[in-house]
C-alpha cells in the first residue's frame, strides 16, 4: 500500500474505525459515511496533504473508496 493510502486510512479510522477501508468500495453510496463525516474527512485530508478540495470534487465516486480518494488527491496535487 502506498503512502497516500495508508495516511488516508489513518484519517478515516479516526472518523469511524468500524469499517474495513482497505476493501470497502461503497463508502458513500453505501451510506457508511454521511455528509457530516465527509466534512470532517475533507478538513483532515486538506490539512494532511496541504491541498484544497473545492466543491467540484464533492462527488460520491471520489469518496467511495480509499483508492478513489487517493486518485483524487494525486490529481489535485498534479493540478496545483
Amino acid at each position: 500500500m502506498n503512502d497516500v493510502k495508508s495516511r488516508l486510512i489513518e484519517i478515516l479510522e479516526e472518523i469511524n474505525d468500524d469499517i474495513d477501508y482497505e476493501t470497502e468500495t461503497n463508502l458513500i453510496d453505501g451510506k457508511m459515511l454521511d455528509s457530516f463525516s465527509i466534512i470532517r474527512l475533507i478538513s483532515s485530508i486538506c490539512e494532511e496533504f496541504e491541498i484544497d478540495i473545492g466543491p467540484k470534487w464533492m462527488k460520491n465516486e471520489n469518496f467511495n473508496s480509499v483508492e478513489a480518494m487517493s486518485n483524487m488527491i494525486n490529481t489535485i496535487l498534479e493540478e496545483e
Partner: protein, 526 residues
Amino acid sequence: MSITSLRFVLFVAALVVVYFSVPKKFQWLTLLAASIYFYIRVCGIIELLFVLLTAVSIYGASVWLQRIHDTQKMVLKANKEALTAEEKARIKAKNKKRRRTILVFTLLLNFGIMCACKYSHFAVGTINLLFGTTMNNSFSLIVPLGLSFYTFQSTGYLINVYWNNCRAEKNFLKVLLFISFFPQITQGPISEFEPFAKELYSEHCLDYVNFAHGTQRMIWGFLKKMVLANTLAPMVKDVFANYSHYTGITVFIGAVLYSVQIYADFSGYMDIMCGFCEILGIKLTENFNRPYFSKSIAEYWRRWHISLGEWFKHYIYYPIAVSKWNRKLGKNLTERFGKSIGANLPATIALVAVWLATGLWHGASWAYVAWGGANGLFIIFSMWMEPVYDRYKRKLRINESRWVWRAFQTVRTFTLVTFIKVLPEVGTLSDGLGLWKRIFTNFTIPNSLTDLLPFADNVFNLLIITIITFALFTVSLIQRKHSFREELNRIPYVLRIIILSIITIIIAMFGIPATIDNGGFLYALF
C-alpha cells in the same frame, strides 16, 4: 392542460405513438416539440419566454465557459516547454477570473429573475413591517410555472460546466430540451445534466416490459393523486380553516391526513411522470424512497424530494462546508475547544444556510422560513447531541436493531415531520402556531364519530381513503426488502389485469369527481 385530465392522457398516448414512429434521430426533437406545446397549453407564451431566457443565458454561458477552458488547455499543451511556471499560472489565473465572472453574472441573472418573480411581495411586505413604510405589495407579477425547478436544474448544469464536471452541450435545442422537458419542468425532479441528458438524447425502442411497467406506474400515480390526495384535499382544507373550532384530536388527525395528502400528491405526480418516461425508455431521477419510514429528520430529507436535497447538498452545503474560511474556522475551534466543536460548527454554518434557503425555496413567507428553520434545528440538534444519545442508549441498553426501537424511531420522525409540515400550510405563521397550540391545549373527547371527523361528510370517501392508505403502507412495507414490481410480476397475468382494471374503475368512480375541484398539485405552487 391538467395532468389529471383525459386531455393529458390522450396527449401522452399520442406522444408515445409519434415518438416511436419518427426516425430515431428525431426522437429527442419530438420531446422538445411536445414540451413546448405542453408549456404553452399549461402556462402561455409569455411564461415560455422566461424559460427561453433561462435556456439562452445558460447555453451561452456554458459554451463560453467551455471555450475558455478548452483554449487554455490547448495553449498550455502547445507551449508546454516554452512557458515558464509563472506564465502558466498567470494564464490560469486570468482564465479563472473570466470564467468566474461569466458564472456569477449568469447565476445573478437567473436567480435574480427567480427572486423578482417569487419574492418581490415578500420583500416589500418585510420592508413595510420593519420600517413602518406603506409601499404597495399587491402588484401582480408573472410567476412562470416550475420557475424554481427549472432555474435550479439549469444553474446546476452551468455550475458543473464551470467545475469541469461535464462538458457544455453545443446544441442549443438539446439544452432547451434539458431545461423544458415537460414531465419534470413543473414539479421536478431536478436532474443532473449527466447522466439524465444522455437518456433524453439517446435513441429508444418500444419495449414491452418498459411499456407494461410504465403503464402500471402511471395508473398507481393517478390513484394516489386523483383518489387519495384529491379526496383528502377538502377535508384537510376544512381542518386548517376551522382548527380553532375543532377538538385537539380532530386537528391532529387533520395534520396527519395532510401528511398523507402531500405525499400522495407529490409522489403520485412523480409516479405518473416516471411511468410515462419509462414507457419511452427514459429513466427519470427518482424523488422518493419511502420517506415516512425514516428514523430521523436528516434521513427523512434524504428520502423526500431527493433531487432538491441533492441540489442543496452539492451547490450550497458542500461549497460552504468545505470552503477555506470554514475549514480554517474549524481548525481554530478544534485547537481551542476540542474536536467535537471544531468538526460540527463548520457543518452547522452550512446547514443553517441550506435550511434558510430550503424554507424560502418552498415559499416566500415567514411561515416557510420558520418551517425551514424547524427542520434545520432538529437536524443540527441531533448532530450535536449524537454522542449524548449514544451514551444514553448504551446506558439504557437499547438494542438499535430491534424492531420495537426502529418502529419507535419511525413513528417519532413521522410525528415530528407532520407537525413541521403543517406550520406554513395553515395560512400565516401565527395560524400554524395556533394549530399547534390547539393540538396541545384542547383535550376535549369527541362524543361521536361525526364529532371526531367533522370534515368527513361521506362514508364512502372515508372508506376509500382508508383502503388506499393501507395499500400505500403495504406497498412501502414490501419495498423494504423486495421490489414491488417483482412481487406483482409473480401474480398471474389475468389477475394482474383484473387488479389494474379495478384500480382504473376506482379512479373513474372516486378520482374524477374528487379532481373536479381539487385537481391542482401542491408542489406546482413552489
